[in-house]
Symmetry: D3
Subunit: 305 residues, 6 copies
């Protein structure tokens, strides 16, 4: 079944994905004046939908976009989108499930497209499991680009918006050197911040370290890992971290909605720790699998075939 | 004639504007991963098209987006779009004319919409002359918001991209206080930077002052004013300027593609100078009108009824 | 009874307030080279005088001004000033009670005014209850100006000095937009700092948040609220907070000597929470009233007539 | 004749200086909410009064203080103050002549002192010639303290206000090490800024260098030196300068209203150049003397006895 | 016995110290491309060698220098160096014991000196007990220079390298004012950082305060003091501290390998607390002596004669 | 003839290079407390020796190191070193010629090595012509690392010192990605600064652009290029430049003592301009060759075989 058969929610209707076409004058297109949030399924079951929708509404509030819909309705729609698309999913695959809300059209253009409220899209797409499978075997190669994460006084990194050029510029730098590397940006003070959709963790002396939330978006996966670590009796500290911490870490990993937990092999070419994954990373991965009742590592690794 | 009758160029075809619909997975929508440039017509004649297209290509180069088209072709298309839409224009009106290029779809989605290259849109829209007419009579009320212009080490302010949330956040602050005020952001060092699509100039002791190009996009209108001032024997200095300079300016004005030159009445409620416009602002406005062979001030003012 | 009847302490004597006249060459006037501290009365009883005098002496130590008097003597004088002025106070009113110490005159001018030590003033003035009463009903409208709080490496914000122009400049910006709004300045990194004599608190998910002390003066009311919250089992975190936190707060309020706790209705025009005051703000206000054994909210609200 | 005999202008009247007593609730005292400007006499003739008054009004405009008086009237008053006090001046002495304008009293206190407008003081005081005489023989010992000049985004250094604690704190640091040293503060980027009322110049390879105006108050003496240097065919560059420039300067000097030009001997203990004053400093001093038609160096040096 | 009799380890051999001669093309000389770590003996017994060697290897890892030797071997060599030099030590003296590892020679120069690996030196030198004895009686005079500690985004302050010019420049400033003063640098935000090999602690209200580790090297002595304080039930907080904190501290002291704990008498000339050492400093000193089973304070003080 | 036959000047004597061995306690080794300067020969003739020695003395002055020798003597020694080593040089080769001055030994160690003054070394080494030859054919691949150039307030980048770890750390980042790439660091504001011993130039619209001197060491080659460009009527502007400028440059090149002028092919993988070298780069290279009367490009290219 082709991707074109997927169904998405689009401003009140469930339509084939290919029909989700946005007027070019939509502020989401012209200005990136839109927010989104993304969760994934584990074995076709959706993960922490309420938490993701809650964060979506915080992003909306920051930008004063009115989604014209209560969170509960957003969750229902999301579940309906998933329900309609599950039949298209291979048994071993899983979905990213995403809500997107743009501010819609400026007044002068509302009539042209007969759209007067925000643009609301809920959609899903299979995870790129094969593409990323080797990362779980080999670890991620992280490079810190020279581009710095946008500072909170310009635009809060805690808002998931359609303005991703800071990240895109960082990735252009990094991938021109190593097409498979992942960029982790530093903030304007030189501290580790985050990558495109991913958070970074270090393990040092048995303690789990991760940047403070202010210059990074606190991913739901990041929070899940923190919770799981604390439950396991591991000390977790959110603090400023820099390249000294990275190069001296015993272990390091990234978290993201799709990756959950994926080990880092190198930072700027320097090998981190001695095993991929390190023991605490492995312990947390396993705890994550238990928590979601799904072997996401196995799901990735089986694509290596 | 309704706006829906306007024709736009869209990925190889000239179509009614309402048919310019972008797949929601276009990176221009998802990430604002797109650039644009805008010029205007004066009495239905297009202004400095070559300079605007040249700047568009500089923006493309910064983001490594390949428009798959030479600048000369981009200019031809632009002229054709204008030619097709001029019949729709009232004699007293004029157009904004805009090129937009997004990076298009990620590989995984190219087939769904059968689009493999960048998204290229060329379009026009009448200037909001009536809406802004009073600004030429009363002057603009400028407010500097607390949000700071994105620093160049995060994303260069000199690139006209579809990432405008820094500006949007600034405008939300300012317009919640005064719906007709215009935001001019300061940079992270507290210097005057720019507003959404506009540059700021101060007059002090007969000298024309404007922020250095690095933290601001050097508007074509900005450059036109600098050229006209120098031709008139006025000293022009590009330097760091702050609120001390603003409050003590003899005159101040904004430039933008649509405004050309529009006087500033107040900055944060403090009246600037004694007349709106001040004498040098008036002189430069008149020089601008002569240069473009069109009375843009009269065009605005006649909307006041 | 007129304000002129109030008595103040002035360099060793208790005199009518109108006779407290400072030589224009006093460094407190020429340079703002002076410190102060202010407490208030609740139902005519003075609040935490020892804590305020202690902080006054910390300010003195930072600037190496010798008050020529032990803290105990400063407290006695303060109490005497209050005692002498209580008869002038309406039963429903209360006083601000303030100590001020300037470095006095430079050597060259000591003889002219026959004053050789510091200038010490202890004075009181009725609280502006009527003027601020509506804030308790409607909440405060907070605006963050573009002016940034003076950084600690230039002058510590933790010292209560007679150098208030940073705050004055901020208020000029804000009040030119909305004469009843209160300015809360950001620090040079864009974090929420403080207003003229006021501290800001946010409530988020049941947790009480307030900026770290370094870039703000730790008000005695701020400390009182922190203590009361902790006694009530509420988690209090002092950390960097920015506009994302403010816009997403469930509740927000200001504290100051005079306000004690006063709810914030909007930040930059964005409504905070759903009620004014929010439930936790109300709980803390009530705890504050109990702690000071006085209904300060009622005292304000009764002025609304 | 004692200083007490000096006459000053005070809110509409010419009174003995000792009667210039400011209500302690004047905002100039409480907040340093006041501005001033100071010129000096040369051989009893006042220097560039118009330029100083012009700068005073720029300071007033920045803080939106209305002096309730036109500049011309301020100049007349200044000249009258000087005229009345010249008889008190020894033939070899000269005056500092200063205007001070505070915002006056807040509304609640206007009636107490029956003062409804700003506080305006015009006054003079003999220059500390004896005290500073050795500086012209030995050169000034400059120390850069750790305190940084207040950044323009907090309060513009170009405004001469009654908020001098940043400078006072700097001087406390420096003079605790060397009671005769002068502090020159660095700005927050580590560039040379200015001292309390003084500007710094370096000579390097025959070129005269001085910090850009934005982070320093552009002294009238500074401008005079720049003009004199340019007239003498010396290249003058206003740019960022740091300690590397200072330690490698061929010569260095301070300018201020009272000092005019005074050579620097050392910066942080490192000797600058080989002679005090260096040849270009001497040339500019002589040009300054010719320009003001007065040997200010001789005036200082004769106090060395 | 002369220092020349001391034995050092040098690239595989134990040789007289005077024979430890480094090729001038060694990167440790040309670029300071080397790291080191230093511990001391107490009564001829070495202190926390494992911790120091562990930190040495963290420094090596940051700079990707391969010492070609396991930490255990480095410890053995260190102990052997000490063993060989103990006979040279007066009974009352003690040693600094230091490992140094440079990256060695660039390829082009390896053959000239027939050295292909890193340069490894292990050496010792008697502590300057007499020189510093008075500090324990009078307290240290601390001055904060204008030079700022190198920020972590340029070079991590947590790495003990052979690049000390930032500290040297700071000391040049400070010691030109007071040859016996110690520099404590501020970081680029104006917070207290560290001095050449020393950490700073403040005592305030019974709480022990010290800068966060990121902008300072976390000395082993610093960690020892923190541990001892916590064992004694004293609250220890690592946080941003500035001059306000310093001037208002009840007590202050420096820690370093050689000093262990030494009281601070003044900061920028302002006296800290009332006694040298203060009570908590004395308590911690005594705990330190017990912990190392050696009276290091007595060892210093007996040199006062 | 082997490198070991080269002669160097070492503290008063001319000795075989392999005998230039520095006591490990030399401050130049322990702290990198040393400065250097390097010129090269063109066809065995030394280039701008006086300018290089002049800059060496400026570096010495910044660090207050006394070389115990006048510049003229330093030049004589340099010429003598060169004279003695020219016989060892292949006809087609050329030398780097370098002076190095360290502060020498601390007092406690002077006697051990019987050295009481500074350490002075003058030495030469053949240029790595073969190693770099392909750069002239293919252009340099520049990468901007995440490490930022040390800011002037920590240590002036204009001083050529033995503290190169900021550069070393940058190179480690860059060369782990591409072993042949050259690092150009950004400064803490994100502007292009410099690389290890190299300066960067951009060509844009026929104008030659290069970073301001303050955050970069003004190389003698940089100055030579600026002079040659101005003589050729090309406008040269020293200003803040960032990645936008780099990506949009028509041409770019590095200058250094050894490279003179070498074209840049790519910056962070983005191709600069259309030819390597671009026309203006070629013109300046040819002018440089004429100026030094030597075809340095040919000298490099002939190594390509």
């Amino acid at each position: 079944m082709a991707s074109a058969d997927r169904i998405a929610y689009f401003n009140g209707r469930f339509v084939p994905e290919r029909e989700v076409l946005v007027p070019f004058r939509d502020r989401g297109f012209k200005y990136g004046d839109a927010v989104f949030d993304t969760t994934r399924t584990f074995g076709h079951r959706i993960f922490k939908l309420a938490e993701h929708v809650d964060r979506l509404y915080r992003s909306l509030r920051y930008l004063r976009i009115d989604p014209d819909m209560a969170p509960a309705r957003m969750m229902e729609i999301t579940e309906e989108v998933l329900r309609r698309n599950l039949p298209l999913l291979e048994p071993d695959d899983d979905y990213w499930v995403t809500q997107r809300v743009s501010r819609g059209l400026d007044d002068a253009h509302k009539d042209t497209w007969n759209q007067h409220g925000p643009t609301v899209i809920v959609e899903c797409v299979p995870l790129p499991l094969a593409e990323r499978a080797s990362l779980y075997r080999d670890g991620i190669r992280v490079i810190t680009p020279s581009v710095r994460r946008t500072p909170p006084q310009s635009l809060s990194p805690r808002v998931k918006t359609h303005n991703y050029l800071n990240m895109v510029a960082a990735n252009l730098e990094v991938r021109s050197q190593d097409p498979d590397a992942w960029a982790i940006l530093l903030d304007t003070a030189g501290n580790l911040a985050e990558g495109l959709g991913s958070n970074v963790f270090l393990v040092s002396g048995g303690v789990l370290l991760t940047p403070r939330e202010q210059t990074v978006l606190s991913g739901i996966s990041r929070e899940t890992v923190i919770d799981l670590a604390r439950e396991a009796g591991i000390t977790v500290v959110e603090q400023d971290l820099d390249l000294y911490d990275a190069y001296n870490a015993d272990e390091a990993f990234l978290t993201s909605t799709s990756l959950c937990i994926c080990p880092i092999a190198t930072v700027n070419g320097a090998r981190i720790g001695t095993a991929v994954p390190g023991p605490l990373t492995r312990q947390l991965s396993e705890a994550y699998c238990r928590f979601v009742d799904f072997d996401f590592v196995g799901q990735y690794l089986k694509r290596l075939g």
